[in-house]
């Protein structure tokens, strides 16, 4: 499906109310070479329901990104009160009521698996809605284009400005645009660092020049990436750098809703004069409003293609034209390949959302979500690590008895100081002692500070006559005296044997 040649488009003989735009898809197969300089894309403004939806999603996603670090969440003394905080210095991740230690990173892994499965499911059902509406690259590029349009005007003015010599007006416009872009980039980089430090504190430090180097580094990095990716690289990120366009092709099928030019309705295309019959021709009037609106610079009428991010702006552009020429809307719209074939065959449209792959993704999602929730609900707030001495593995004492030494670490993940009773289970003759603590029989009470690890040296002794084997199983356990929560570790008592 080659794009209509410019000669059939221009001419001015068409529908009086429809402007014909001299534009071609940047990825037109006829022009493809192995290397090609980027062609600037000047997306034309559109109005319509998808544009309004995109504004709303942009406001929501940017609002969440910029405001979330400022959300407070009281956790008590000695704990940060920021709802979401990745605290590298304190090696903790705070997410509302959840507090993750570095050894619990599998929760984050689970979250990423959930995100991936959710993305798979959404893609199988609705195509690249992630790319089209919520991907940061799309959102920020959309914002940058809006700024560009506000400063330099819409498509035609921008094209004219680009080709005109460097006048004062052009210089002012360019400087204004880039200044605004950099300011947005700085706000983006600035908000990023708030996720890693207490936001009000780091904000004050940042402006006084007292923030750590990493804060300034990531501020500068995110400012630069935002400015470069959304300002000048734009669609090249999606086309050349992002792996997702390649992967998503494997996730969609003939029943997936995607932004589609309904060729069964649009072809044969061509200019249409007011009053002419619509008999024997398609609804597409070759105005190329869809191409002009496209931020990727492609022609949706060429069919599904890697470059298309399904942003739906061509739907709005085309609907506007269809209304003006008096044809039904949705010549370009969310459609499935199956329905295109069915319409051509004169059959009714059919949507099939429950398919093997959507069932598979849903089941996997629910399963992982259930495992994650279970793990989170039953998450232990006390853990016990027992590390035995290896040099020497055991020691003979002066009375001939044998002693094993262990380093015992009691991990209190709670937000208050807790008292634990430590017990050693083993043969009846087992003797227990701890450096710097008094032991009552085989158990002792230990206080562990809030949100901390306490390490003790524990000695387990067996008299010679009680040693029945070179390796005797013993169990070391701790129990929260107040709540009764327990943690236990099985280990062995080593000796030369009987």
């Amino acid at each position: 499906m080659a794009p209509a040649s410019p000669t059939t488009v221009g001419g001015g003989t068409g529908e009086a109310s429809v402007e014909r735009i001299d534009v071609e898809a940047v990825n037109s197969p006829a022009k493809r070479t192995l290397y090609k300089a980027r062609e600037p894309i000047h997306p034309k403004r559109v109005h319509g329901k998808y544009r309004r939806l995109k504004w709303a999603i942009m406001a929501l996603t940017l609002g969440v990104y910029y405001a979330l670090p400022w959300l407070r969440w009281p956790r008590g003394v000695n704990e940060p009160n920021q709802a979401i905080l990745i605290d590298f210095a304190g090696s903790r991740f705070y997410f509302f009521s959840i507090e993750i230690w570095p050894d619990e990173l599998y929760y984050v892994t689970g979250l990423l698996i959930l995100a991936a499965l959710g993305l798979f499911l959404a893609t199988a059902l609705f195509g690249r809605i992630w790319c089209g509406y919520t991907c940061p690259q799309t959102v920020w590029t959309d914002l940058y284009i809006a700024v560009e349009r506000w400063v330099e005007g819409d498509r035609n003015k921008r094209i004219k400005l680009a080709s005109q010599p460097w006048t004062t007006d052009k210089v002012i416009k360019k400087i204004s645009k880039h200044t605004l872009w950099i300011l947005i980039g700085m706000a983006t980089g600035g908000a990023w660092i708030f996720y890693f430090h207490d936001a009000p504190t780091i904000a004050a430090q940042f402006f006084k020049g007292q923030a750590p180097f990493s804060a300034y580094f990531y501020f500068a990095l995110l400012t630069a990436t935002t400015y470069v990716f959304a300002g000048s690289m734009r669609e090249q990120i999606c086309t050349y750098i992002c792996p997702w366009p390649r992967i998503q092709a494997a996730l969609t099928d003939a029943d997936t809703l995607e932004v589609t030019y309904k060729s069964d309705r649009g072809e044969p295309r061509g200019a249409h004069k007011k009053g002419d019959s619509w008999e024997g021709r398609g609804d597409c009037v070759s105005c190329r409003a869809c191409v002009a609106a496209c931020p990727m610079g492609i022609d949706i009428r060429d069919g599904a293609q890697l470059e298309c991010i399904n942003c739906a702006l061509c739907i709005d552009a085309c609907d506007d034209i269809m209304a003006r020429v008096g044809r039904p809307a949705s010549l370009i719209g969310y459609d499935t390949d199956v329905n295109m074939v069915r319409r051509k065959a004169g059959m009714a449209q059919k949507y099939n959302f429950i398919r093997s792959r959507t069932i598979l993704y849903s089941v996997a999602f629910v399963l992982v979500a259930a495992i994650m929730s279970w793990a989170l609900i039953t998450r232990a707030t006390v853990n016990l690590h027992v590390i035995r001495d290896r040099t020497p593995p055991y020691v003979m004492l002066s009375d001939g008895s044998v002693r094993n030494a262990f380093t015992v670490k009691i991990i209190n993940r709670g937000n208050i100081e807790r008292h634990f009773q430590l017990d050693v289970d083993g043969p009846d003759e087992t003797g227990v002692s701890v450096v710097g603590e008094s032991v009552d029989g085989r158990s002792l009470e230990l206080a562990v500070a809030d949100d901390a690890i306490r390490s003790i040296r524990l000695f387990v002794t067996l008299p010679r006559e009680a040693i029945s084997a070179p390796s005797i199983p013993i169990t070391i356990k701790v129990r929260d005296i107040r709540t009764g929560e327990e943690a236990a570790t099985s280990t062995v008592f080593l000796s030369q044997g009987r």
Partner: protein
């Protein structure tokens, strides 16, 4: 110096590629004189400029008596010294607490300070003590195991601290110099007396022995050994005389080794660490060693 000029001064051009040759030829294969890639040349020139700047800014050229210092006055040695100072400053408060603590027992009962002392002690032990006493203080023949409850010179914190500070049989003026005499080699006792004594020492720790010889040996023990090892052979920390009635032997508790000890004498040396380690470091080490075996 144009190699590629023929006798007539003409430059040979390769027919196939249109590139001039260097004039070098091997079995009919001629080397083309392609120019270096421009990016490579640019990088090369940048490196040359960088190198000149580097000579000016950084220490670079060796001389007879020294080297060029460079404008930045950079010195890795100074940097390391500064970093060590920085580290010491960061640890100063806790280090100060180690010295200022009323007693080493007080350090052990303060979890935070104890943790600091143990961490510092473990590192110091690895650097200074592990060579003889083993990585975990497990000891070797002649080098005491620091994990057990037998302490030749005392296992209380103060004793351990003193052993590390002044050493034992070391060159330090305050050290203890008592030692096990070579009863056989020096002719103090006869071979038979030593044989009897060996049987008696075996009997002290309940090992199999010749009862008749042991009874004879008991008299020699009372005469020669009780001054240091005590009447019951339980030893004396002040003199570094080991307990002979327990299950732990520094050199070995079998008949042959006991005989060898009696014949040749013993006198293991622990050097003094006062000159090499600071007071705080010795305190940290004492707490660490005490924690290994629970001490006394």
């Amino acid at each position: 110096m144009a190699d590629n000029e023929t006798d007539g001064g003409e430059i040979e051009i390769d027919d196939h590629s249109g590139v001039e040759t260097t004039g070098h030829e091997w079995d009919g294969i001629k080397e083309l004189n392609n120019p270096l890639p421009r990016w490579w040349l640019i990088v090369f020139y940048i490196c040359v400029i960088w190198a000149v700047g580097y000579w000016v800014m950084m220490p670079a050229w060796p001389g007879i008596t020294g080297y060029t210092k460079g404008l930045r006055n950079h010195s890795e040695r100074q940097n390391v010294a500064a970093q060590i100072t920085q580290l010491e400053e960061a640890r100063a408060e806790a280090t100060q607490q180690l010295v200022a603590a009323p007693s080493m027992e007080a350090i052990e009962s303060d979890p935070a300070l104890n943790q600091f002392a143990l961490a510092a002690g473990a590192s110091l032990f690895g650097d200074n003590c592990a060579t003889c006493h083993g990585a975990g203080g497990q000891g070797f023949k002649g080098y005491p195991n620091l994990n057990d409850d037998a302490w030749i010179w005392g296992g209380a914190l103060e004793d351990i601290n003193k052993t590390i500070t002044v050493g034992r049989r070391s060159t330090h003026p305050e050290t203890t110099n008592t030692m096990m005499l070579a009863y056989g080699r020096q002719g103090i006792l006869s071979r038979k007396q030593i044989n009897d004594l060996t049987e008696y020492v075996l009997s002290l720790s309940g090992q199999t022995h010749d009862a008749a010889a042991a009874i004879r040996g008991a008299q020699e023990f009372a005469a020669q050994c009780t001054a240091c090892h005590g009447a019951d052979g339980t030893g004396n920390h002040a003199l570094g005389a080991p307990n002979l009635s327990d299950a732990i032997w520094l050199y070995g508790g079998d008949r042959a080794t006991i005989h060898e000890t009696l014949w040749d004498g013993r006198g293991g040396v622990m050097p003094s660490w006062e000159a090499r380690l600071s007071e705080a470091e010795i305190v940290a080490l004492s707490v660490y060693v005490h924690s290994l075996g629970g001490g006394e």
